[in-house]
């Protein structure tokens, strides 16, 4: 029992990170039908920007308090969100009407640019986060669940809730949904399409950055390649939940995290990815649109 609860709790934390990143994939895909392969690197960038800011905040050795961490998290999300917007402006907007493949390859280029740029800027070594999170927590059915884990899951849940409210209740959210339906029609209705797309990139990038900073603080190390594998996993989560669907991305991330930890427990560490990706294949065979995806007709 204790091991089951522990496994589920650990899976929930990993799943929360996957979900936050998967949201960016799914939002961008939903609105301009682009698989933004640079998205995992925005997560990496978030981890590094958070690392730099935290180093400044805790520079005199006093260590950043809880307030400091939250301020850093917020600042990182804004900075990386702005970078995400910049990427959209420079790399993707000029190609919006070009064939789909051009923009996809550009995304891979942006990914390589971000990875190697970060390597030049922060170095190739592993950087260690300048804080050690407390390991105190509750004993639930014999499993040790730390306050940090609970905090991470709560912050992730709040971010996702905020996103959900934004998309479903605000005018900009409505514009996003409208553009996902038909970009040209929105243009004709006087909606500033580019502005809304830029906003989508801002939100996606800042969610990934939030996940990056939290992961950096939680695990303790950051490295310029850390976005690659988690980017692929989050992409899997987005497809699992149904790419383009926001609740699907949340669900897909959590499901993937849980399946991975359960897979490790049942079959051993080397089978972790096999379990995760078998699940993906299974879902795609049984329901090609993903768990919550809807069938859309290809327009272009």
């Amino acid at each position: 029992m204790d091991i089951l609860v522990q496994t589920l709790a650990d899976g929930l934390v990993i799943g929360a990170f996957y979900s936050l990143i998967a949201l960016g994939y799914t939002m961008v895909f939903g609105i301009i039908k682009l698989l933004n392969f640079a998205h995992g690197d925005l997560y990496m960038l978030g981890a590094f920007v958070g690392y730099t800011l935290l180093s400044v905040v805790s520079g005199n050795g006093s260590g950043a308090g809880l307030m400091g961490i939250i301020v850093v998290l917020f600042l990182t999300m804004v900075i990386v969100g702005a970078i995400g917007m910049g990427i959209e402006r420079v790399a993707y907007r000029p190609l919006l009407l070009a064939p789909r493949l051009s923009i996809l390859i550009t995304a891979i280029g942006v990914s390589l640019f971000l990875e190697n740029g970060s390597m030049l800027f922060w170095g190739a070594q592993y950087q260690v986060y300048p804080l050690q999170l407390s390991h105190d927590g509750w004993e639930v059915f014999g499993a040790h669940i730390t306050y940090t884990q609970i905090g991470l899951v709560i912050i992730s849940a709040l971010l996702m809730l905020g996103l959900h409210l934004f998309i479903s209740r605000t005018l900009y959210g409505k514009a996003m949904r409208a553009i996902a339906h038909d970009q040209t029609a929105c243009h004709l209705m006087g909606i500033n399409v580019h502005k809304v797309i830029a906003l989508t990139f801002f939100i996606g990038a800042s969610l990934a950055a939030g996940a990056g900073t939290m992961a950096g603080a939680y695990y303790g190390t950051v490295n310029f390649m850390m976005g690659f594998i988690i980017g692929l996993k989050a992409f899997t989560a987005a497809v699992l939940g149904g790419i383009g669907s926001i609740p699907g991305a949340m669900l897909g991330g959590l499901l993937l995290g849980m399946m991975e930890t359960a897979g490790t427990f049942l079959f051993g560490g080397s089978w972790k990815d096999v379990v995760a990706f078998s699940l993906l294949i299974l879902i795609l065979v049984l329901k090609p649109t993903g768990i919550m995806g809807e069938k859309v007709t290809e327009r272009m």
Binding site: Q6, F37, Y219, F228, I229, F265, K272
Partner: protein, 381 residues
Amino acid sequence: MKKWGSAIVATMLTLSLAVAGCANQGQSSGAADGNEILVGVLLPVTGNNATDGKDMQNAIEMAVKKVNDAGGVLGKKLKIEVADDGCDPQMATTAANKLVSQNVVAVVGGYCSGATLPSSGVFKNANIPLIVPAANSAKLPAQGYDTLFLINGLTPDQAQTAADYMAANQAKKVALVHDNSAYAKDLADFAKAAVEKSGGTVVAYEAINPEEKDFSALVTKLKGIGPDATYFTGYYAAGGLMVKQFKQKGVSGLFFVGDGSFSEDVIKIAGAENAEGLLITATPTAEFIEGAEAFTTEYKATYNNLAPGPFSALSYNAVNLLADAIKRANSTDPDAIKKAIKETKDFKALGQTISFNAQNTLDTSNFAVLKVAGGKFTLAK
């Protein structure tokens, strides 16, 4: 999708290497004639293992400078040409080919066994001797290349050292974790054999993906098993995180790491309090070697007070061995150098006396068990 991504990454890296190679060739043209002997250096200076790679490069540069200051070899100066293998088999092959095309007379290098396996083949085909200071998978000498020389102790020796220490401390139930790299899997396999031979049982044999950071599922599983000792055989980046998560979850027993995790970074990543009591099977660094005090002092003075890393003494030895062999060969012909290295008898180096056996490896094991105490490495025995 993953395969596709890595293929693209590999292509880009190859391209960038080719470009870098062209630039370097421009600089070093004419190096091989004239008054210089060009020696290749093949190390991971970028990527996950860049810290150790850089450290080895420092030691090599120091040794080269010393040899040159003492008048060089055969009246010529040694000049090194560094190529980055990134601990990646594909990158290593490209980098090795680059060195071959630049007509190096010999090569010092090889950190990850996985990358050294293919690159040693490239040098074998070009008949260029390769002295390996760090990589020590048993698969390397098993290839039977006459151009390949290993001066680090071999994996079976390391596994035996770990198994002996476990047996001496009544650790019967042993969990083994590797990271699927050639070196780590090799070490885990030998450790399994050694532990079973000394009467212990392997209660778990697991693998992790070193690109990831969350090993909690595996650690929880180990906690349920309750081993007397856990041996992680992979590299330090994942090793530090393993130690941290292992301690935080409160798994029972001793925790061992192999020499791939022998780096100050492992303590930094795990955090000093989690790393306390961590055991490492490794060849001792310069500071634990008698007679290497001068080396340590000079290294610190040259490199900004940086302490020499795990393979710096061995890298230093490799260059000195090569310089000695070129002198004895009285020629810069790779064939003659190869023969001279092979004939090395009782070459006195830091912490080891080098003579090669039939497999071009050393007969004596230099492995020891170290322990982290007060945030520092100390000898455990």
